[in-house]
């Protein structure tokens, strides 16, 4: 029974290590897309182009 307390920390430690050596494929894809968009200066399709909004006229100039 006492052996269990030896095994658990070892398992916990090895879990930490294994999780981090896996290549995070989904995160890499997301990061790649972000960089590609910036380098190719792509506009995201879900964002419509900014309409030409005239300067706000309700802001009154105070002298």
């Amino acid at each position: 029974m006492k052996k269990v307390w030896l095994v658990i920390p070892v398992f916990a430690l090895s879990a930490c290590v294994t999780i981090n050596i896996y290549f995070p494929a989904a995160a890499a894809e997301k990061a790649a897309d972000k960089i590609i968009e910036e380098v190719w200066q792509m506009q995201q399709s879900d964002k419509p182009a900014k309409p030409d909004v005239p300067a706000k006229s309700d802001v009154k100039e105070t002298k």
Partner: protein, 138 residues
């Protein structure tokens, strides 16, 4: 004794969750990565027309290559060659830098593969990309 075991288990779950979160994002916001990105962004203005004409295409290993030298006027050929060489140097550096920024230099090949797929996937219609069977036009 049972309580101790439960606590241990809870701690392990916590550690595993934290690690999963820590690994969920890839660090790409370093000065070196940003500098390479800016340089590539600037070069793209010149390269874009060569992608459009098919003179330059995207390769399967995340690089660019002069696909059709014949379509480039003789006077511009040297310029295109220099652009392609500089672009490939930046791309190589980009993949290495992202791997280093995440303290996993051994990820470089996987990062390159991921980028290769995404460059091709996101290439504009009409651009040439390399497939397993050679060059194809998107």
């Amino acid at each position: 004794m049972k309580h101790l075991f439960k606590n241990m288990l809870a701690l392990m779950v916590l550690v595993a969750t934290f690690n999963a979160f820590a690994a969920a994002d890839l660090e790409v916001n370093t000065p070196a990565v940003n500098a390479i990105k800016a340089s590539m962004q600037q070069r793209h203005a010149q390269l874009a027309s060569y992608y459009d004409s098919g003179a330059v295409g995207l390769t399967i290993n995340g690089m660019v290559a002069l696909r059709d030298p014949g379509s480039v006027p003789l006077a511009a050929r040297q310029t295109v060659n220099a652009l392609v060489a500089a672009e490939n140097q930046d791309r190589e550096a980009l993949y290495a830098e992202i791997a280093n920024a995440n303290a996993h230099p051994e990820w470089q090949a996987e990062i390159r593969n991921t980028f290769a797929q995404r460059w091709i996937q996101r290439a504009q219609r009409g651009w040439w990309v390399m497939s397993n069977n050679g060059w194809v036009q998107k």
